[in-house]
């Protein structure tokens, strides 16, 4: 009876050990799979091979798999300097806070009608009291109600893999978990939306992309001379 009890106990102990080792194996596989990560180097040019600055590059996970980590919200500034927004394009994770310091010695009136964020900051100088929270993914187009040529774009993303191209038209996404993604490019003047499925492995992936842009029409300028005195 006692011996039988001991055998039963040993059997349960063995099962438990086996289960533990199986679990450890599974975790090891998951951990090793998770640790497989690669980089994406991207270079974006016009048809005339001119680098395009401020293209927002994002990777969105495919196959119904959740992003491995949520992007941490940021606190950033979009300034108004010499009657322009600086920077003109900003990419931030969902939930980030943005303040709009006016560094000019004139008043600005910042607004957005976009679905991603609707707000307005009536005439102010200096730093507005409260930053604006961008809590929905999308693109918010900003303007100044006083200076019509002023415009800026805030791209709100819910992926940890995002970047903006530099002056050389280059961006690098590092430590991207291996898997299948949709590569999305966004620029305020792009002619067509750009989406492409790519696979990230454990090595560095390099891509060169040509993007077609629309011309820009408005710039900081005086009104036409014929009407200037009546405007």
């Amino acid at each position: 009876m006692y011996i039988h009890a001991i055998k039963m106990s040993e059997s349960k102990s063995n099962q438990s050990m086996r289960l533990k080792s199986q679990l450890c194996f599974l975790v090891a596989i998951l951990v090793s799979a998770h640790s497989i990560a690669g980089d994406l180097k991207i270079s974006i040019n016009t048809q005339k091979n001119q680098p395009i600055e401020s293209v927002v590059v994002t990777l969105e996970r495919l196959g119904g798999i959740q992003q491995s980590t949520s992007p941490a919200p940021l606190n950033i500034e979009i300034k108004q300097i010499d009657r322009e927004f600086v920077p003109a394009v900003t990419v931030i994770p969902v939930g980030s806070l943005v303040s709009f310091p006016n560094q000019d010695d004139i008043l600005h009136h910042v607004y957005s009608f976009s679905k991603a964020k609707t707000f307005d900051l009536p005439l102010y100088k200096g730093i507005p009291n409260e930053p604006i929270e961008f809590d929905i993914a999308g693109v918010a187009t900003l303007g100044c109600n006083i200076h019509d040529w002023m415009s800026a774009y805030v791209v709100i993303v819910d992926t940890p893999y995002y970047q903006k191209t530099n002056q050389l038209g280059e961006a690098q996404l590092t430590n991207v978990s291996a898997g299948e993604y949709e590569l999305v490019l966004w620029h305020p003047r792009q002619k067509k939306s750009y989406r492409e499925t790519i696979t990230i492995g454990d090595q560095s992936t390099t891509k060169k992309i040509e993007l077609r842009l629309k011309p820009s029409f408005r710039s900081k300028r005086q009104n036409s001379n014929s009407n200037r005195r009546y405007q």
Binding site: D82, R83, I106, L107, H109, Y111, F113, D120, P122, L123, G143, N145, I146, D148, S151, P215, S216, F217, R218, S219, K220, R221, Q222, S224, N225, S226, N227, R228, R229, Y230, Q231
Partner: protein, 290 residues
């Protein structure tokens, strides 16, 4: 307000520092194919002129959607022909209200102006006042549209006319004239540097012509019953009439603070006595703002 007061206010405004890019200096060349605005059947005299202008604008914001601006201007015009040299000193006050938030929101403007025009031959010196009501709206990123209705009154400086020069019972001075105009204008932005202004306008009121006297002109002037010898070789007369004006141009932004503008204007009209008038103006202007 007397012209001297206008000049004083303008000179006072010029050195005042305010918002950036509200001071402008420009240099312009103009060709006028019918400087006296005489009927097509009469001798038409063309002239070229050079113009140097300066202006300064002060802006007071009244609310997030409205502001008041005051512009002082000084224009010096030098003609190669017809003794039309003149110096203009003006003040322009404009109230602008944006009818909501956003780039494409219409805006309403109401402007009044006073301008003193001082000619080389000073019988046609005048004080010009105007009231303008306008509505403008950017249609999209490329096109702005505007409609302006304007009433303008020219009043000659009466003390310049001697009794000997009066040839008939004038309605005041022959250079006194009132007219109203409606102008539809647009600016098309071709890219961030080039833009194309266009306008079409209708003018109704008094037309004043200046011409060398000949039999036809004297007959016309007598019929108009509003004429004056303004100097030994020229006669001015006034008729009721209307005119159409069409203009198209091209603006090139050279830097953030300078621009080159070319404008062609075609004006044609008809006076009450069925005389037809026409003129075209070509202007090229370089402007710097800061």
């Amino acid at each position: 307000m007397k012209p001297e007061s206008l000049l004083l206010i303008t000179i006072c405004l010029l050195p005042i520092q305010s918002n950036a890019q509200d001071s402008v200096i420009s240099l312009g060349l103009l060709h006028d194919s019918n400087v006296g605005f005489t009927p097509n059947s009469d001798r038409i005299v063309s002239a070229n002129s050079i113009r140097v202008s300066g202006e300064k604008t002060l802006t007071k914001r009244l609310s997030p959607f409205s502001h008041l601006s005051l512009t002082g201007s000084l224009d010096i015009n030098k003609y190669n022909n017809y003794a039309r040299d003149h110096i203009d000193v003006g003040l322009y006050a404009t109230y602008t209200r944006k009818l909501g938030l956003g780039f494409q929101t219409p805006r309403l403007t109401i402007g009044i102006s006073g301008e003193s025009r001082n000619y080389q031959v000073n019988v046609d010196d005048a004080f010009v006042s105007s009231l303008t009501i306008g509505l403008s709206k950017p249609i999209n990123q490329r096109i702005d549209l505007a409609l302006n209705l304007r009433a303008e009154r020219h009043r000659a400086k009466d003390d310049q006319i001697t009794p000997e020069q009066l040839q008939s019972p004038l309605r005041g001075n022959v250079f006194d004239r009132d007219f109203i105009s409606a102008e539809l204008s647009s600016i098309t932005y071709l890219d961030s540097n080039w833009s194309m202004p266009m306008s079409i306008s209708f003018i109704d009121g008094d037309l004043v012509s200046i011409s060398k006297p000949n039999l036809s002109i004297l007959a016309r002037a007598s019929a108009a019953n509003d004429y004056s010898d303004i100097r030994s070789d020229a006669i001015a007369y006034r008729s009721d009439g209307h005119a159409y004006s069409v203009a198209i141009g091209l603006d090139r932004l050279l830097t953030e603070q300078s621009a080159l503008s070319f404008l062609v204007t075609r004006q044609s009209g008809k006076a009450g006595n069925e005389s037809k008038y026409s003129r075209h103006l070509l202007s090229l202007e370089y402007s710097v703002n800061w």
